[in-house]
């Protein structure tokens, strides 16, 4: 069944969109990731204009994170104070990102920027994750003693001013690093159409030293507001949010996520992570090839000033 998307102005098979939403939903349920970093490149591949894909993904992430955050609030695993601090940075970052996006769109370099960001981040994160899970598997095979817990070292972060108490996380640190983390993730959210959890979660654990149990809830809390803000900015400056596309992806995604969660429970954590790493590297490789190999058609057509 073909459906005409009013903002993207293309006609796409509705079941393809539901299926894509479902597939990415299964993966995000299995691995506990947002899935924006997979969905946005997939949307490029089926012919949705990149500007529409990025803006619509932001809208979809708001919705898919919403039910997630409710569950975390119920379990009291959200550090609201930290969330607000991250959010301040995130909002500024998203505003910056949307501006950069608009300027590059005029210059015809949006595709390049988005793809470069994807190659860079997916490559680094996929690579790290792959190595780490290989190590973990090797360790569990050799069945040595449990690794000693690493106490966070005192670093330059502790020397920064403007300290604040974060009771839920049990931290007393400067607000500057979380604001910067938030800012960075906000820029990514606006440019790449992702929530940014894949950057924020490691940053919260390794850089800020937050306890693992509050990390996911807190990042979801920040992601909802930042992506909602990015959606509004894209809607008002670029007119590129397609609500029909968002709803179709979402319905598929929610159902897929429920299935994925059930599959995820049955699989070992290490093998899950290595699968996710391989997938991330595959998407990265595909995008990198697009940039490195000579394209079949060197010319492209964009609309002057307005859409596209």
């Amino acid at each position: 069944m073909q459906i005409y998307l009013p903002i993207a102005e293309v006609s796409v098979n509705a079941f393809l969109l539901l299926g894509l939403g479902g597939l990415v939903g299964v993966l995000s349920g299995m691995f506990g990731v947002g899935g924006g970093f997979l969905m946005t490149p997939l949307l490029f591949m089926i012919g949705i204009p990149p500007a529409v894909a990025v803006a619509t993904e932001a809208n979809q992430i708001v919705a898919s994170s919403f039910s997630g955050v409710l569950a975390h609030v119920k379990r009291k695993t959200v550090d609201f104070r930290m969330g607000w601090v991250l959010l301040v940075g995130g909002l500024v970052g998203a505003a910056l990102g949307v501006q950069v996006f608009a300027i590059l769109r005029e210059l015809g370099q949006v595709d390049l920027l988005v793809k470069l960001c994807y190659v860079l981040f997916l490559g680094v994160i996929g690579g790290l994750m792959f190595l780490e899970s290989l190590n973990a598997i090797r360790k569990s095979r050799s069945a040595g003693p449990a690794p000693k817990t690493v106490r966070r070292q005192r670093t330059w972060i502790d020397a920064l001013p403007l300290k604040m108490k974060f009771r839920t996380s049990g931290l007393y640190i400067s607000v500057i690093p979380p604001v910067l983390v938030g800012l960075f993730v906000g820029v990514l959210a606006a440019i790449m159409g992702v929530g940014g959890g894949f950057i924020m979660v490691p940053a919260m654990i390794y850089l800020l030293g937050m306890p693992t149990k509050v990390v996911v809830g807190t990042s979801l809390f920040q992601i909802i507001f930042v992506t909602a803000f990015a959606t509004m900015l894209h809607a008002t400056t670029n007119y590129t949010v397609d609500m029909v596309l968002a709803v179709l992806l979402l319905v598929g995604g929610v159902v897929g996520a429920q299935i994925g969660t059930r599959i995820g429970v049955k699989m070992k954590a290490e093998s899950l992570r290595i699968l996710l790493a391989i997938m991330v590297l595959a998407v990265c490789g595909k995008l990198a090839l697009d940039l490195l190999l000579q394209p079949a058609e060197l010319y492209s057509i964009g609309t002057a000033g307005g859409h596209g």
Partner: protein
């Protein structure tokens, strides 16, 4: 301008040996939610008040031109090992859609002089509205523009797509793709004898989004803030609703 003059000139000729009488299956296309392209049938007859001239080849040419717009054609080049858009050229007055169908190969149906005057073959049609004195577009970029749009199914020429019966009745089917730009699609029918245009007939098809498509598009452009809020609200409601339904099934 030249086109208009020529049309007036031909219309003013008192005695025309042959005249086109034509109509279309529809003069209005509505883009609704399930829009998946459309086929229009253009049909008609050649009206004569005297016997058909002997030994002159008759041809019918049908063109459909979408609303003209300004586009940017970009060329990729290798920079630091990756392929990047480097040069670009802005072209104005480019048809968002162009289809030309003819009863015999276009080269036989139309002389180059007539083509230059009327802008019928795709390269001519694309640059037809360029004002006098504007520098010509780089040939590489122009041919790339046509090639990319042809590959995308936006431009096309179909030879022998116009059926002519007994040198009198003719019909042509033109397929319009799903990703149409809204606006007026000018449809022209030309009757040629030995490559010279004898008569022409012009009409237009109006393409418009309707219903929900119209409403969403208008809201997004006229009330973007409200539209953004509504998108967020609908998405959250849909996501929450879908997971609620799933929970009910599970329980």
């Amino acid at each position: 301008m030249i086109r208009l003059l020529v049309v007036l000139l031909i219309a003013a000729l008192p005695l025309r040996a042959e005249e086109i009488v034509a109509d279309m299956s529809q003069d209005r296309i509505s883009i609704s939610t399930n829009f998946d392209g459309s086929e229009i049938l253009i049909f008609g007859a050649v009206k004569r008040d005297r016997p058909e001239p002997e030994g002159q080849q008759l041809a019918i040419i049908v063109t459909v031109t979408g609303p003209r717009e300004e586009v940017v054609v970009r060329r990729k080049d290798r920079r630091l090992g990756i392929w990047v858009n480097t040069d670009s050229v802005e072209v104005s007055g480019v048809p968002s859609f162009y289809a030309v169908a003819s009863s015999v190969p276009l080269a036989d149906a139309l002389s180059p002089e007539e083509d230059a005057l009327w802008g019928i073959t795709t390269p001519r049609a694309v640059t037809a509205t360029a004002p006098e004195g504007t520098p010509a577009i780089d040939a590489d970029f122009l041919s790339a523009l046509i090639r990319v749009n042809t590959d995308a199914g936006i431009y096309g020429s179909a030879e022998a797509a116009v059926q002519v019966r007994d040198s009198t009745l003719f019909s042509a089917e033109i397929a319009l793709p799903a990703d149409l730009t809204e606006g007026n699609y000018e449809t022209s029918i030309f009757l040629t004898r030995d490559g010279t245009i004898v008569d022409s007939y012009g009409t237009s098809i109006y393409v418009q989004k309707v219903g929900m498509e119209r409403w969403i598009y208008a809201l997004a452009h006229e009330q973007p803030f409200l539209y953004g809020l509504l998108s967020l609200f609908i998405a959250i409601a849909a996501g929450w609703g879908a997971s609620a339904i799933f929970r009910v099934f599970k329980a």
